[in-house]
Symmetry: C2
Subunit: 571 residues, 2 copies
């Protein structure tokens, strides 16, 4: 028997772009057909883009997505197609349509609806209860969706018990750093536990604060990877599966035990085909590790947000510091140097070195640098405010004033030329509120919002290591961080050193560790108190910050929903 | 037999303020004990405040809340106490503790967890499955929580079938306009369907974007209201219930049919008491209808947010227009005129009338008015930007620049004096993006963010009707709305008249009506297209806007979760 040729299209859909997504899906069907694949699979909610959020409450949108799904099914001449869409029967379902030869032959409804972290699927969908297996020629394929396959006892088990040889999981699994191994381990466990092939197709691309890394994969019954897709690029991942290696399920294996999981169902789809097929190209997937993986996520996230939001050019305010240097570099890598305009906005407190570093970086990147001093606006505003500041010492108000005037000037450029402003604050700053609301936080997209400061340095070093001459000037990496809003200001005047701050922040923000637990890890009690207080008091700033790319297990955004008016103090 | 004296404390807890909430609860227990009430009930999650959101993921917070619940139980000498808290057994539960004579005698777990609108309860809690009835002296009381009682067949039915005479529902039911009737109707249906007394105790007060209106009530088996609490103020609502009026449940009534709903359970709590008791004061509840109800919600929401966020004074930018006039008036009513500072920031395009109106309003309200012209900053910024604006026509960039410089100046005052900035944008503007991000949207709290422009007028008229001389100058209500950012600008140059815009916005934003449906209501097709496009394109602005008070069934905020990068066009 010839092997089962499974094609998986890890595509980058755009939320709401039903026409564009449909066109893209049909193109990949054609590619898969040209390879004489038996089946081509697309990710979770590929028709609508993911996550569609409250667009799902618009019945017009749901109807249009079902119409597109049918158009896609009509394109399934001679090939089975599995594609994610929203079913309405009449409750909304996160669904996979299975089509063959122009007909929808089955629909699977996702059974496990994630409602944690960034996910709100119980808000929208009703869970499915039936676990179908589709007979595609000589091969029995069980289809399920994302979260479903994370369950050791779940639809996969039921589908295996019915003779499923290939379990196909269509997914939309948001990226965070170093997640690939965890995912592969889980899929390998599912493959070996059930003795089946597992095909996993994931989205690539960015959508608001989420990035999807692709890295689709097929694993054999022995748990080994048969084929794997690249991270961070669209790809058709194809493998020939020797499904005869899959043994029969043990007779009556657990169909009774599994009643609670979901009902079994079998659908015959297509006759076995035969004949010779084009050989599959041998391709090495592009995977990344460590800082390179995060860097690539930032590049893809930035490119997609800018494009999907309808912009072509971006503006970055360059302070000469490490954060804005990294953001400008990511932007140039994402959009090309011609689409990045850097703006230096020196004040009376800016050092000569900062301006030189901004110039050197811009030259290295080949991006335009404009210099717009804020002195004139600053002096005028101070003069206007003088009667209202009388008798007070210069302080935070005067510092924030500079930052906000920079925000005003860069937004004026943005409005005038229709360039999107990328903000440059990192996660450590966002956490403790070491940022000026409507000042340096003003802009459309916050590229490194989820990157702790210590990782910002590692990303800069990583990027510098990719070329003989470092793109980011070495002095940017070696000078002490400073906001330069008053003479000789240093971040460490206000904050603990980042090597101390970042692990406390991870413990408190990402891991929900208690005050006592954090202190027991050896951190100074007063420092921990100060950091926690700063984090809690800055929630109002974060709530008004632009979206940015999630690269940790918990970002500031939909992932962490804290009250603003909040009197809880854990010490 | 003497009647059952039920006390319900509609309190205003603060999220996270475990100590403060506990103190408040104990004070109300003492008040209820002084009245010799048999039972005193507190709202849903009264110990933690509501909604605690992701504070619930902090195990230290959960442990502390359980400790406070036990302290409260210890205060239940001679009186039964029902209080909302978070149980952990080990999964988190939205729970009601029942205590008597210092002991916790039972814990109920909420069975229906709302996960729609502003609610995310499936994110946090596991649903309960047991429906206990507590024997308090001679009276059988079934306890359940909020959403539970909205189910015609639910815990109430099971508790009635076990002989429950009083069904006590502890609630945290967010306000929107004209909701009181709906709630009373539902509770009356529950009372008459089951032939029982229904006691419903709700939170009052504001928490971030939510306001709770209180209006707790007791209904008799005939569906009539026995007693009702006021809206928008803390109160101990007490009633003597003639529980002998409750007939026995039909023998074996549905215990079998109800197995699917939840398990029955009966707990004996206290011996019957006797003797004479202080008479209950007869009080008329303060309820509001129409614009008065919304106005009161805005006042309470503003007062609570400002106080709970730790501020005492607020700043309002007065343009002389209706929106800022209304916000300043609400602020003065909420905080007292001494705690409101108005700032007029005229530009070269401001009319003489605007400044006069701002002055008249400030005098009427008795609030301080500062005048800070933006000309100096505006001229300086234009000069700085001149090389970058060369060859372009004045337009949006120059208009937004003025608005953002106002944002800069008012935030400088805020930073200098620690006054919270209230923003003044209405829902119609927020919907279509007729606002300058980091400009007029800059501030901590957006008082009328959920109030459509046409309702802004009604609220102003309502407030003016409360005194002989109108507080808000009549000219403010009669002149055409204008942003005054260029000569002779009017809102209607850019937007449809508000009488047309607001119903289209309601249909699209609140009711999820399709394009065809909206057009079929008689609106001009091009106008509908334009409005929908404006709404969809402004999501990025809303995402960075401050929180504001929800007064409609769907506000911009947790209630409407739309993607920013979104290519869906419904026409």
């Amino acid at each position: 028997m010839r092997p089962f040729r499974l094609a998986m299209a890890q595509i980058d859909p755009t939320v709401g772009d039903l026409d564009g997504n449909t066109r893209k899906i049909v193109e990949y069907i054609d590619q898969a057909r040209a390879l004489q694949a038996d089946l081509v699979a697309f990710p979770e909610l590929a028709v609508t883009g993911y996550p569609p959020e409250d667009l799902l409450f618009k019945s017009q949108f749901i109807r249009a997505n079902i119409a597109r799904m049918k158009e896609i099914a009509a394109e399934s001449r001679g090939i089975a197609v599995v594609v994610g869409f929203v079913d309405a029967n009449p409750e909304l379902r996160n669904a996979a349509a299975v089509a063959y030869d122009g007909q929808v032959v089955g629909v699977y409804h996702k059974m496990y609806l994630p409602n944690y972290g960034v996910f709100d699927e119980e808000r929208y969908f009703k869970a499915g209860a039936v676990c179908p297996v589709y007979q595609i020629g000589a091969t029995a394929v069980g289809v399920n969706i994302c979260e479903d396959i994370w369950k050791p006892i779940g639809p996969t088990t039921v589908q295996r018990a019915q003779g499923g040889q290939v379990i196909l999981n269509i997914s939309g699994s948001p990226f965070y750093a170093d997640r690939l191994g965890e995912r592969e381990e889980m899929l390998a466990a599912r493959a070996t536990d059930n003795g089946v092939f597992v095909g996993y197709v994931n989205i690539v691309g960015g959508q608001d604060e989420l990035v999807f890394d692709g890295a689709s994969m097929v694993l054999g019954p022995d748990g080994n990877v048969v084929v794997q897709g690249s991270q961070f690029q669209e790809e058709l991942v194809v493998a020939d599966l020797d499904v005869e290696r899959v043994s029969e399920p043990p007779p009556g294996s657990g169909e009774r035990d599994l009643e609670d999981v979901g009902a079994a169902k079998r659908v015959d789809v297509s006759a076995p085909s035969s004949g010779s097929r084009p050989a599959l190209p041998r391709r090495e997937p592009i995977h990344y590790g460590g800082p390179g993986e995060v860097y690539s996520a930032l590049v893809m996230g930035t490119r997609d947000y800018v494009g999907k939001a309808g912009f072509s050019k971006v503006l970055v305010a360059l302070s000469g510091g490490i954060d804005s240097s990294l953001v400008a570099t990511v932007a140039a890598d994402a959009l090309g140097p011609d689409n990045v305009v850097a703006v230096a906005m020196p004040s009376r407190y800016s050092s000569e070195g900062s301006l030189l570093d901004a110039k050197a970086l811009s030259e290295n990147l080949g991006i335009e640098l404009r210099t717009i001093p804020i002195e004139e606006s600053f002096a005028a505003s101070l003069d206007t405010l003088a009667p209202h500041f009388k008798g007070t010492e210069p302080g935070l108000a005067e510092e924030n004033l500079q930052s906000r005037l920079r925000g005003v000037l860069i937004m004026a450029l943005s409005n005038k030329h229709d360039w999107l402003v990328l903000t440059t604050g990192n996660k450590s700053e966002m956490a403790v509120g070491y940022a000026t609301i409507y000042g340096d936080t003003a802009g459309g997209y916050a590229v490194i919002k989820d990157v702790p400061k210590t990782l910002v340095y590692r990303l800069a070093e990583h990027r510098n290591s990719l070329s003989n001459n470092p793109v980011i000037p070495v002095s940017v990496l070696t000078k002490p961080p400073s906001a330069e809003l008053r003479p000789d200001q240093k971040d460490e005047d206000s904050l603990p050193p980042y090597e101390v701050l970042d692990p406390i922040l991870k413990a408190y923000v990402e891991d929900d560790r208690s005050f006592d637990e954090i202190v027991s890890e050896g951190f100074d009690e007063e420092t921990v108190k100060r950091v926690i207080t700063l984090v809690d008091r800055s929630e109002y700033k974060r709530r008004q910050a632009p979206p940015g790319i999630k690269i940790t297990p918990r970002n500031f955004g939909r992932d962490r929903r804290m009250p603003i008016a909040n009197r809880y103090r854990p010490f």
